[in-house]
Symmetry: C2
Subunit: 315 residues, 2 copies
């Protein structure tokens, strides 16, 4: 659905602020608690937690993260899920979210209802209450920015730092072709992330948003280079499908399409990898693949990552 309308009767501007907020409460339903634990006060209040807190923020913007071909419901779900993926990447647990909308007065009420119902569905599914927000008018377009507060699930939080030369590089799931649907249908790897954070052999972790070819460098420490093997990359069916209609290989799509929202992690060089992989298999059905390791230099048998460009923002 195109989100905007020239018909004032169908637009959010027909409601005025107070009625719009009342409508949002209705759309969110039990996904938002009563103030001061939900929308309606100067700040939302979160109960005391004995854990370190995690904070992440990501938007969805019309013309950038979605267009007319995407259902409003899917946009709302994705907004929460892409932030959940960041909490998963640290091995954390989500607590609560606040959302800031910047919208054109010409935004369709029906579109916004679909967006909030999608957000509410994801909020209930992942048990993350929407506790506050802001609505502001902007000259045109639609942008929703969600800030997600989480907490460490245990004493340990995994960051992007901590890998060493010799460490193994792993990725969950299969990669590439997200444009064919995965970019909206993905499941944030929350359970997997929490389990991985309890495993001492795991040294660093992140989620894959721009493609492994680019993102792996965020885990790469000075003096090391990622030595990935083409035969080890878990290529998705969607990446193979896309390659049929593009001039690029399935591997290229797997490494550069981005929006995989899988976990990329490193395992200590001297770890008992067989035991680690067996423990994973006992716990989860999704795939966990060792795709290479950090080396001092690459050889021709490794993927030449310079030949790939992951998604580069602002270009």
């Amino acid at each position: 659905m195109h989100p905007f309308t020239d018909n004032p009767a169908e637009a959010v501007s027909s409601l005025g602020e107070l009625k719009l907020i009342a409508a949002i409460r209705r759309w969110l339903g039990d996904a938002t608690p009563d103030a001061p634990f939900g929308i309606g006060d100067d700040c939302a209040i979160l109960p005391v937690s004995s854990r370190r807190q995690l904070v992440t923020v990501d938007p969805v913007i019309y013309g950038r993260h979605f267009n007319d071909t995407v259902a409003a419901n899917a946009v709302g779900q994705k907004l929460l899920k892409r932030n959940l993926s960041d909490i998963a990447a640290m091995g954390g647990r989500p607590r609560a979210a606040v959302i800031a909308l910047a919208l054109s007065p010409q935004l369709k009420m029906r579109w916004l209802a679909g967006f909030y119902r999608g957000l509410a569905a994801a909020s209930r599914r992942y048990k993350v209450p929407i506790v506050g927000g802001d609505i502001a008018q902007q000259p045109e377009g639609f942008a929703a920015t969600l800030t997600l507060i989480g907490e460490a699930a245990t004493d340990r939080v995994l960051t992007r730092q901590g890998s060493k030369t010799g460490d193994w590089i792993y990725v969950t799931g299969r990669l590439g072709g997200s444009l064919l649907g995965h970019q909206h249908r993905f499941t944030p790897r929350l359970k997997e992330g929490r389990w991985l954070a309890t495993r001492r052999e795991v040294r660093s972790m992140m989620d894959v948003s721009d493609g492994v070819a680019k993102d792996v460098f965020a885990l790469t420490q000075t003096g090391a280079v990622p030595a990935l093997e083409a035969s080890l990359i878990p290529i998705s069916a969607a990446a193979r499908l896309r390659a049929r209609n593009s001039s690029k290989s399935p591997l290229h799509h797997a490494l550069t399409d981005g929006e995989d929202y899988e976990l990329l992690l490193t395992v200590a060089a001297r770890a008992d990898r067989a035991a680690f992989e067996a423990a994973w298999k006992k716990k989860f059905t999704i795939r966990l693949s060792c795709i290479g390791r950090f080396a001092r230099a690459t050889s021709p048998k490794h993927i030449n990552l310079q030949a790939f460009h992951g998604y580069e923002h602002l270009r």
Copy 2:
């Protein structure tokens, strides 16, 4: 300064993502700690706190909250300060902020540098580190959304709920005329808010963003009406100045201009108001005014608030 440029060499798009993030780190300087406590990981990490957490989110949007006449530095400062005012309104203490930018590739680098230097200045002044963020491209314009995490300063958090018929209504500072400069130069009432939260006679509190004529209804409980007296309203010099060039009275400007960022609070009917006011005067130099009380009905000697309209969003 106009924030946008047709000259690609002056625009943020000339840098690319990684160099832009490096520039932002430079502009923020010590206002952002190193990852994972600052920008650079999937989530920012906040240390354990034994207090309830407060969360608020507010944006600044080009064409809505500022225009070409406002210095980029002032826009950056205001973004943090308007969120600090929400923390002040609960009697809380700020901890850390994350910021999401949505910007046109035509945004001037020089403008963005000014914006971040202003944000950094406010960050240092109020000791609120910028711990994370996101940058996304949008077709045009500029919007920055800041989420501020705070914590209760004591066991008590003041909300908008809790006033009763008979309670007194107070406001800090002077009201109106914010367009003449106060909207950027205001000081969030953090110290005052924390002190007020320790006073048992204070029952509810909020900050004044849309004007007292509108905002007071957020503190009004069912069955009560705000009975304000015109002679008690602390009218700012700026409100009087504006009235000289408008068809409206200074009182009208004081009650409806909005962006006062003062605290509006209620005091229990049976409180020792003289002792309360004396304790305030011992502690603070800014004015604290009793402007009326909650009654069952108003009489002609009270302000007819229906005749005033505070700032209504999305109209």
